[in-house]
């Protein structure tokens, strides 16, 4: 029931992901951050097997950092996406990672970009993308309302529309979502959309 989706706007890219960590019928937590900040100007939203998701994305993050230290210059978004895809492809015929990834980044010379990378190492450069059961609803919503060069307000409205659609129509829809943004000023958390907050610990 994991949902990750994203889109490219005017000078920025947004990635939204649900934040439940689930094991069969048990919800471990509802504030799990599934969008990793890969480096100063890249976001990696991932969904899939919990162990694989964290292991793989942390591995990618450390390798991206190593590149930056070795070469004194960060990887471009396209290079990071291709590197990620390459690692998935190599593991595919041995012990594949069950992780689906949306990689969003901002490069000074080409602006924002979004890459769709699925667990069998498919790589597509896209304007909008989504994974999970929620993708049925969010992709349809984005197909209807997306246009290139959306302003931040329009894009966040569209993300909210998608979240509403997922909440109304998906049978076990996740209660909380996190939205992160990447633009010329860097990658950062934009907002949370919560319906369940962790209960306050009662004081004596």
């Amino acid at each position: 029931m994991e949902c990750v989706f994203g889109l490219v706007g005017d000078g920025f890219a947004l990635v939204a992901a649900d934040s439940s960590a689930v094991n069969s019928i048990l919800v471990h937590k509802s504030n799990e951050d599934k969008i990793m900040i890969l480096d100063s100007h890249k976001l990696l939203g991932a969904s899939g097997e919990a162990g694989d998701r964290v292991q793989f994305t942390e591995y990618i993050q450390k390798n991206v950092h190593l590149y930056e230290f070795r070469n004194g210059i960060p990887l471009s978004t396209a290079a990071a996406a291709n590197f990620t895809r390459g690692e998935l492809a190599q593991a595919l015929r041995k012990s594949p990672y069950s992780v689906n990834i949306l990689l969003a980044g901002y490069d000074k010379d080409i602006g924002p970009s979004l890459y769709y990378i699925d667990y069998i190492a498919t790589l597509h450069k896209v304007d909008k993308g989504a994974f999970g059961y929620g993708s049925f609803f969010s992709l349809s919503m984005m197909d209807r309302h997306y246009h290139s060069g959306m302003s931040l307000k329009e894009a966040v409205d569209l993300v909210d529309k998608c979240i509403v659609e997922i909440r109304t129509r998906l049978v076990v829809s996740p209660p909380n979502f996190v939205i992160k943004i990447v633009d010329k000023d860097g990658a950062r958390e934009y907002a949370w959309r919560e319906t369940i907050k962790d209960a306050e610990v009662p004081t004596a």
Partner: protein, 251 residues
Amino acid sequence: MARYDRAITVFSPDGHLFQVEYALEAVRKGNAAVGVRGTDAIVLGVEKKSTPKLQDSRSVRKIVSLDTHIALACAGLKADARVLINRARIECQSHRLTVEDPVTVEYITRYIAGLQQKYTQSGGVRPFGLSALIVGFDPDTGVPALYQTDPSGTFSAWKANATGRNSNSMREFLEKNYKETSGQETVKLAIRALLEVVESGGKNIEIAVMTKEQGLRQLEEAEIDAIVAEIEAEKAAAEAAKKPPSKDSLV
């Protein structure tokens, strides 16, 4: 004696490892490097030998980052340095990946020194011909640290140290003039130590400052020139004060 410096795995009869000692010679021929630990910053300085006119000086960085909070400067064989620095950078990220914590300065120094030692006890290889000055802030405690390694693989922590060409003079100067400093004073102390053995001027010195908030910052040539000018002015003032009163001494 000539028979005992072929393969480094062989001790000489009087207990020397000649290859290691020759490696230390190589370090002594390398460019001067100095490190000074302050209370809130650590400063690394390196002598810049005159750059050939056609060379792009930006591609010759002598003070490098190993991680966001660790930096290294060295004296000796630069190609050997490149290999060690690469291995250290990988280890910094690997440590972060496995224990989700940045390395401490001591950990990465121990790692680099361990690597240098391995090459004094293996067949068919020669030691790394460099001594490294490793600086940084420990991630948990925020304490600044300066360590030095050498080709034998020993390492220790220092308040201030120098290596490379004329390191003895620089160390003597530091021993005489070291005191706990912070901020700009630490930078000045490092530059003063370097100026003992290097021709004055921003062209011949590379300085980088490591602070907890900003990480490693390389100083611009203009900044260095300004500080050098300050130091020269202070020196001149000190000289003038020392001179005995000129005309009134003979009464």
